[in-house]
Symmetry: C4
Subunit: 263 residues, 4 copies
C-alpha cells in the first residue's frame, strides 16, 4: 500500500467548510466548532440513520473531517453501521492511517475517505455505500439525472468510476492509489458511482452527506420509473433550476433521527 | 413578495364546506364546529399519519382552514411533519402572514395553502408533498388516470404545473404570485402535480385531503404497472364511474391513526 | 335492494366443507366444529393479519360461514379491518341481512359474501380486497398465471368481472343482484378480479382464504416482473403441476399471527 | 420414498469445511468446533433472521451440518421459520431420516438438505427458499448475473432446475431421488433456482449461506432493473472480478441479528 504526504489544505476554504458543519441553531448560540465528543456522537447517529433508512446495510461507512484539524477525519472501526458506538470511532490521518484505536481493524476501504478529503478541502463528510437503487446506473451507460429538487446536486453530473480502468483486480478500494483515482473521478461533484459496487458521496457537512446519499438512491429509482413511463422522454431539472434548488436536509435529519429504534 | 387582500368568500358554500370537516359521529351528537383545540389536534395527527405512511418525509406540509374564520388557516411552523406538536401550529391569514407564532419561521412554501384557500372557498384542507410515485408523472406528458375507485378524483384530471412557465427561477413556491399561478392550474380539481417537485392536493376536509394524497401516490404506481403490463392498453374508470365513486376515507383515517407509533 | 330466498344447500357437500374449516390438530383431538366464540376470535385474527400484511388497508373485508348453520355467515360491521374486535362481528343470513348487531351499519358490499356462500356450498370463507398488485391485472386483458406453487390456485383461471356489464353505475357491489353476477363470474374458481376495484377470493377455510388472497397479490407482482424479464416468454405452472401443488398455508398463518402488533 | 446409504465423505476436505463453520474470533481463541448447543442456537437465529429480513416467509428452511459428525445435519421440524426454537431442531442423517425428534413431522422437502450434504463435502449449511425476486428468473431463460460484489458468487452460474425433467409430478422435492437430481444441477455452485418454486443455496458456513441467499434475492431485483434501464446492455462483474470479490457477510449477520424483534 502506497502512502504519500500531501501539503496543507488551503486555509480560507477550510474555515468556511468547517463552519458549514455546524448546525444552524448552534451557530446562532455558539459560533465555536462542535466539541470532539459532540461530533463523534453526531457521527454515531449518522451511522444509525443510514442503516435504519436502508441506505447502508451491514456494509458501507460514513466519516466526518475533524474541524479542529483538517488533516484528520473520524470513521468507525470495521463493523456494521447500525451497531457503531462512540468507542468505535477512530481518528485517521489523510493517508487513512489510524491515530487512535490503532490496534483494531479498520474498514478495508477507508482510503476512499482520506483521498477525498485530500483532494477536496471543501468536503467535510464522506459516505461510501452499496445503496441498491444506484447499482443499475453503475452497470449501464445511462447517466443519472435530477428528477426533482431533493436530488438537485445530481445536475452536477454523477460520473461512473470503473475500478478496472484504475488497475483494480477486485471491486474493493483497498489502497490510497485506487482511492485517489476515485477522488479524481469525483472531481468537484457530490457523488460518483462505482461500477459493480456502489457509490461515494461527499458534502460540506455530515447532515448534508446523509441527505445527499439518501436522495441519490431515491432519485435513481424515480428516474428509472420516469424513463419507463415516458418512453425516454423525461423532463429533468435544468442546470439553473438545479443550481437554485440547494437543500440542507436538516428536516430530513430530524425526521430520520426521530425514527431510530429506542435504545 | 406581493400580497393582496381578497374579498369575503361566498358564505353559503363555505358553511357547507365547514360542516363537511366535522366527522359524521360528531355531527349526529353535536352539530357545532370542532373547537380550535380539537382541530389543532387533528392537524397534528394528520402530520403524523402522513409521515408514518410515507406520504411526507422530512418535508411537505398539511393545513386546515379555520372553520370559525374562513380567512384564516392552520399550518405548523417549519419542521418535519413527524415531529409536529400542537405548539407548532400557527394561524395564518390567506396571504400566509402569521397571526400567531409570528416570531418563528414558517414553511417557505406556505403560500401554496393561502392561495388555494383564496381561490377555492370549498376547500377546507391542503397538502403539499414530494410523494415519490407522482414525481415520474410530473416529469412526463403521460396524464394520470384513475385506476380504481380509491383514486376516483383523478378522473377530474391532474394538471401538471410548471414553475418555469410561471416565472420561477428555482423549484420552490416562495411567493403569493407563484402560489396563485399554482392555484389557477389546480382550478376546481383535487390535485395538481408540480413538475420536478411534487404535488398539491385540496379537499373539503382534513381526512379527505389525507386520503386523496395517499391514493394519488398509490394510484400513480399502479398506473405505471398497468401501462407496463398492458402495453398501453389499460381500462381506467370512465367519467361516470369515477363521479359515482366518491370516498370519504374515514376508515383509512382510523386505520392510519391506529398505526402511529405509541408516544 | 332486491332480496331473494334460496333453497337449502346440498347437505353432503356442506358437511365436508364444514369439516374442512376445522384445523387439523383439532380434528385429531376433537371432531366437533369450533365453538362460535372460537370462530369469531379466528375471524378477528384474520382481519388483523390481512391489515398487518398489507392485503387489506382501511377497506375490504373477510367473512366465515357459520359451520353450525350454513345459511349464516360472520362478518364485521363496517370498520377498518385492523380495528375489528369480537364485538364487531355480526351474523348475517345469505341475503346479507343482519341477524345480530342489526342496529349498526354493515359493509355496503357485504352482498359479495352472501351471494358467494349461496352459489358455492363448498366455500366457507370469503375475502373482498383492493389489494394493490392485482389492480393492474383488472385493468388489462393479460390473464393471471401461476408463477409458483404458492399461487397454484391461479391455474384455475382468474376471471375479470366488469361491474358495468352487470348493470352497475358505480364500482361498488351494493346489491344482491350485482353480487350474484360477481359470484357467477367466480363460478367454481378461487378468485375473481373486479375491474377498477379489487378482487373477491373464496376458499374452504378461513386460513386458506387468507393465504390465497395474500399469494394472489404477490403472484401478480411476480408475473409482471417475469413478463418484463422474459419479454413475454414465461413458463408458468402447467395445469397438472398446479393441481398437484395444493397448499394449506397453515405455516403462513402461524407466521403472520406471530407478526401482529402486541396489544 | 427411496433411501440409499452413501460411503464416508472424504476426510480432509471435510475437516477444512468443518473448520470454516467456526466464526473467526472463536478460531483465534478456541480452535475447537462450536458445541452442539451453540450451533443449535445459531441455527435458531438464522431462522429468525431469514424470516425477519423477508428471505423466508412461512415456508422454506435452513440447515447446518453437524461439525462433529459430517453424516448428520440439523434442521427444524416442520414449522414457520420465525417461530423455530431450539427444541424444534432435529438431527437428521444424510438420507434425511430423523435421529432425534423422530415422533414429530419433518419438512416434506428436507431431502434437499441431505442430498446436497452428500454430494458436497465442502458444504456446511443449506437454505431452501421461495424468495420472491428469484421466481421470475426461474420462469424465464434469462441467466442470473452478478450485479455487484455482494452477489459475487452468482458469477459461478445459477442453473435453473426443472422438477418436471427430473420426473416430479408436483413442484415439491419430496424424495431423495428428486433431491439428488437437484444436487446434481447445483453441482459445485452456490445456488440453483427451482423452476416454479424457489431456490436452494449452499455454502461453507451458516453465516455465509444466509448472506448468499439474501443477496441472491436482492441481486435478482437489481438485475431486472438494470436490464430495463440499459435496454439489455448491462455490465456485470467479469469472472476474475467476481472470483476476487468473496464476502463473508459477517457484518450483515451482526446487522440482521441486531434487527430481530426483542423477545
Amino acid at each position: 500500500m502506497m502512502i504519500r504526504k500531501t501539503g496543507a489544505v488551503p486555509t480560507l476554504r477550510l474555515v468556511a467548510a468547517v463552519l458549514a458543519t455546524i448546525a444552524v441553531p448552534m451557530l446562532a448560540q455558539a459560533p465555536a466548532p462542535p466539541t470532539r465528543d459532540a461530533l463523534v456522537n453526531e457521527l454515531v447517529v449518522a451511522n444509525h440513520i443510514l442503516a435504519n433508512e436502508g441506505v447502508l446495510d451491514g456494509y458501507g461507512h460514513v466519516s466526518v473531517r475533524n474541524p479542529a484539524d483538517p488533516n484528520r477525519y473520524f470513521l468507525a472501526r470495521a463493523g456494521a453501521p447500525a451497531l457503531v458506538t462512540a468507542a468505535d470511532i477512530t481518528e485517521y490521518d489523510l493517508d487513512s492511517q489510524p491515530i487512535t484505536n490503532a490496534a483494531t481493524a479498520g474498514y478495508q476501504e477507508r482510503f476512499i475517505h482520506g483521498q477525498i478529503y485530500k483532494a477536496r478541502p471543501d468536503v467535510m463528510a464522506v459516505i461510501h455505500c452499496h445503496c441498491s437503487e444506484v447499482i443499475p446506473f453503475g452497470a449501464t451507460t445511462v447517466p443519472m439525472q435530477p428528477m426533482y429538487h431533493m436530488g438537485y446536486f445530481i445536475a452536477e453530473g454523477v460520473p461512473v468510476w470503473d475500478i478496472k480502468k484504475a488497475g483494480g483486480t477486485d471491486m474493493l478500494v483497498r489502497t490510497n492509489e485506487l482511492a485517489r483515482s476515485l477522488a479524481q473521478a469525483l472531481a468537484g461533484k457530490s457523488a460518483v458511482l462505482m461500477r459493480g459496487h456502489g457509490a461515494a458521496v461527499a458534502a460540506t457537512s455530515l447532515h448534508l452527506v446523509v441527505g445527499k446519499t439518501y436522495y441519490l438512491n431515491l432519485n435513481a429509482r424515480l428516474q428509472l420509473q420516469a424513463m419507463q413511463l415516458g418512453g425516454g422522454k423525461v423532463t429533468y431539472l435544468d442546470p439553473a433550476e438545479a443550481k437554485n434548488s440547494t437543500q440542507d436536509y436538516e428536516r430530513s435529519w430530524d425526521f430520520w433521527k426521530s425514527r431510530l429504534p429506542k435504545p
